[in-house]
Symmetry: D2
Subunit: 369 residues, 4 copies
């Protein structure tokens, strides 16, 4: 496989299955001397934790498996600071109910990775809870992202993601209030719209169905110059990072797909001088030009598909003897999220932080001095 | 910089500036014994060539710099086959008119990479024709992509990209005719719609403005199993590849952003058995589940922004003494594309081919046998 | 740092400090379906374990810290087989006596990495037991090497390392008996010579001093074709792997430095046909030509320096205020190895296994078919 | 193959066969703003050039193919400085005599890479002049090394390699005079010894045989801190770089293999304070501790095997029909080097420069500030 490492200088390698012993990561390349707060690390994991909403209450829209998700740092931090050696972080699984998955050993859930994994790895697959393809895998991303974020904070870089659309209901563009993001269980920057979203989600849940949505992410304080053309452009790395998250089906930066309908005269961001510096009059580009941050806010959005685990019977196939397939009907049990957006928000922030930390470090060696 | 390599086993490294001596690439990792046609290579480059439309005629919608873009293979091919050693391909620049760019030495074109490059590299920048950030850079991608594609062809994998929207005019989803793609200068799978697009583009040109569009790409014949979770997923690699192309602002796979508004019950692709194999009843996922190809057609789209070079005067800044900036008004001269879509189509195919060739090779070592 | 990953397809990332919570590794790229024995894994770690000699007895020539070094697999293995997902292995530290190292906080042990680490990482350093530069770090290599080795075993590839020189006493080249390697505490293929070595080592110990030695490694059954020229040659990768082990100061393959004194006519290995295959009349090359395995036995040797921790007083420096240095005299306490060879033998085998597993997988994609 | 890239931030990718169109490299990651002298680049290539000795005269000890080896820079340098974009350098082959190699199409030269390449790449091999495995490949290393060296010069880092042994004759350790290195055709730091070496080499030539030797390399001015443990240690990277050069069979740093016979008390380098800095009383370690440069001179040596092309008849095999092998006798024709040392000296310096430039850049991001 060997596809479990992200980044080249700030390098994150993750491991772990939904029902294995533990999940975690190794962060290699964190600069020595960076103060690291384990409280912030744990708080980041708590925020991603299943069973608890952004408002801290047990949440009807999210999954019911309760895990403490307690992070343990095994190496790389000494007396509160990074030593420059690999930081290993581990979270033990404690609340697996593997018996729930007996009927999924050979029967593939539509919309899930089951079939593709099973085929690719020749039937060698930890089917319990989706194994490596479980959303629980994002825990390791969030842990690594917290380290990245603690680095970026010292540089004045702030990352904020939030749900702008869920179950077909969109937050009006002029009504964002970032202070409300953590006040509702959808991580929506508008409590009133969140309420409408929740009502719609509750309807969908009752129908045994699920919903998708859109998450937006804004990066403030990013210096000019991050991104390594021509392939490791900032937006290219962000796009890869986002599409690497399960259930994400689209990425757009700045005006994105709307730019396709625009004109050069309206899509170009004019520049002007202010206090001897260059500023932009608008931000259609989303803060990236030529694959390099331009000092403007970085703004991008991702599309999240509806949760594939629904409670309606579905047609699928089972793998039988000799790797042949047979028709099957599947009825998924247990409890599942209806809309993944609020749980993906911290993952978006984490992956964004990893991308930026990596490109920040890479940018330190591009100029001769 | 060191961001000029793409792929890990089928590894492409590119070089070259718009007005430098040459552009080209090294393809490292092409399997020994692969028959390679230099005619196909040249044909791929010809297709990308500026000044000539898909219909082979000098094209009003594209740029006027005329280059022969003659590829020379310097290594790695012997007696018509790859030897397994690096394949170096070079294209000489022959028709540079660098004097055109005198007024752009320190004045940054809005919507272009000029400012970001200039800042990142401390003013060390080949400003002529955009230097490394020029669309001419894609020539090296197309050359490498042709090698990748000749490999994929032997595996029955076929990649087809085409313009589905330009200047706000969209091809109806049920009216695609792939045989028409190369019959019109927009690489649109519908000659009639292409005609409408051209009329609109001509209007926009006369107004001194430019337009964007949307390109779709379909991959047929891709085997199940390509993609290396959790970070090097097939869709993640495609997203990176696409966003690494200049002017691309968005990527979506399968239903993409529309999936955000869908329900699990309609977005999941049911499966059934056919001749002992697993098949899908629909393709909302776009051929990728869990980051792995599932045997369905791979379908994705990208958003192309309007060409930033327009003929209206624009407000911008110049870099003066001591790296301070001053307000400036810029009037771009010369001839430029109005809509990039037809020229990006071959680049989309090339990058897709590189991604798939790399993941195909990587997939050969995931299974113990 | 980001130098803690080895390999490109069979990719090993390690972590851990001597006195931290745990050490371990993530093995990414192990082929799915490979049967993995946890008993073999534990046995490999036991063999490297401090405080116990190759003969299983508490050993006068090795260090006295007693650790159980119990491996725990956290992911990637399911029902006895690799799943193709990352295999995380962890060993907890249980017997740290960190108070022993109080006098080493700012005083640098000659011959150790202390000063270089302290300088490089700006004084951010886990000084306890050498931290990341401790020989204990090799535990993670041995764990990963066991996975690699279990893969190679299925391909008929057998790796054997052994001490051929210690404390100035060399095993005669014609007297190797591999069956004796694990019968003496020096992992020497000649029990009688081992006895002489031990006597000499005991003398050196009593004098408060330490000794070096030479380890040889033989790989049998390696197929023709492993190694990726021009940079990732088999011998180049082996050389890197060996020099990455602490205390190793030299590497030679085949006749090595002796080849410098030889003639082409005697150094060339003639070839002949046998049963339709190509065979070599001799093996001066050590099984590698042009950086590629040639089917002959791979034979290489490494030089191991004397243990730097000695019990004689040594002149060194301390880091004081403002990063200035002051002269200091250091008297190292505790118990330490006199000669590292027997403990490095398993590490040599492990790193060799990792190199070969990686190149084996890489070789699977070089040929078109 | 994909083994043709070296380095991670200062990243060098090479291409080219002995009798192909051209050889060259792409250097990705050279810091923008570095002044680059094309004269120095050409001078570095001239120094490596076949047919001319270090003294500038046509040289009896070296090969007779005369190539101008004129470097052309295709990209990445603008107005005398690096722009931060990839620097592509190309050297055309002009003096190939491919007809000389007709008898080597299927008959493998002992001691050469022919058989291993032929087997690995399934018979797809440019056999002319050794193809990719030719010593001519080092031309691309020297070109890239010159860029690296021009960077290191600005940091006060100076690399000097020289022959200390050839044809069994060794320069006494206390008789080195670096000013004489370029005064004799063996690049030996002692003209008198060089004369003796030449006499011996001439004898060997007359006998139709060849000789090996040892090259030493010294790096002065290297700052403390280069090297990325635990795998990408400075000495590990150097070892890989050296063993990646054809004909090199051994590497040792500092006392190297002699350290195996030493004691800790004599092998440890004591430290003392001088002007507030830490200094070493000796340099048994060769300037590297724990894989990190310690501020001492870096000193290492490599073993060079005798040239495999000799003029005595040799037993070997030919590949016949159906990939079976047959016995053959081979008589090599043409002119060949007797001892490779003087020609490898510039390659050793080049690879050392690439290693150090890469680790220098990597070291810029290890410390938080």
């Amino acid at each position: 496989m060997s596809g479990n490492t992200f980044g080249s200088l700030f390098k994150v390698t993750t491991f772990g299955e939904s029902h294995g012993e533990a999940l975690g990561c190794i962060v290699d390349g964190c600069p020595a001397g960076l103060p690291i707060s384990l409280e912030k690390l744990q708080k980041a994991l708590d925020r991603r934790r299943p069973g608890v909403g952004a408002d801290g209450k047990l949440n009807a829209s999210v999954t019911a498996r309760t895990e403490s998700d307690k992070a343990e740092v095994l190496s790389g931090i000494f007396e509160g600071k990074a030593t420059g050696t690999p930081i290993a972080i581990e979270v033990r699984n404690t609340s697996q109910h593997s018996s729930d998955y007996g009927n999924l050993v050979n029967t593939f859930r539509p919309g899930h990775a089951d079939y593709a994994y099973d085929f690719k790895y020749g039937g060698n697959r930890d089917y319990r809870g989706g194994g490596r393809s479980s959303g629980r895998e994002t825990l390791a991303r969030v842990a690594a992202g917290s380290i990245a974020n603690q680095f970026l904070e010292t540089k004045g870089i702030k990352i904020t993601a939030y749900t702008i659309k869920a179950a077909g209901i969109q937050v009006p563009a002029d009504s964002y209030d970032f202070s409300q993001i953590e006040q509702n269980n959808l991580r929506c920057p508008n409590n009133q719209i969140a309420e409408l979203m929740n009502q719609k989600i509750e309807e969908i849940r009752k129908a045994g169905d699920s919903a998708g949505g859109i998450i937006e992410c804004v990066v403030e304080g990013c210096p000019v110059g991050l991104g390594e053309p021509v392939f490791d452009k900032l937006d290219a790395e962000l796009a890869k990072a986002m599409l690497s998250i399960g259930a994400v089906k689209g990425f757009e930066i700045g005006d994105g797909f709307a730019a396709a309908d625009s004109f050069g005269s309206s899509n170009n961001d004019s520049m002007y001088e202010k206090n001897g510096r260059a500023e932009f009059s608008s931000n259609h580009s989303g803060g990236v030009l030529g694959g390099i941050s331009n000092g403007n806010k970085i703004v991008f959005r991702i599309a999240v598909k509806p949760v594939p685990s629904i409670f309606k019977p579905q047609n699928t196939v089972s793998r039988g003897e000799n790797n042949s397939y047979e028709n099957a009907e599947l009825q998924i049990k247990g409890r599942h999220d209806v809309c993944l957006c609020p749980r993906i928000v911290p993952v978006v922030e984490a992956m964004t932080a990893i991308v930026l930390a990596d490109l920040y470090l890479r940018n330190q060696s591009v100029l001769f001095n």
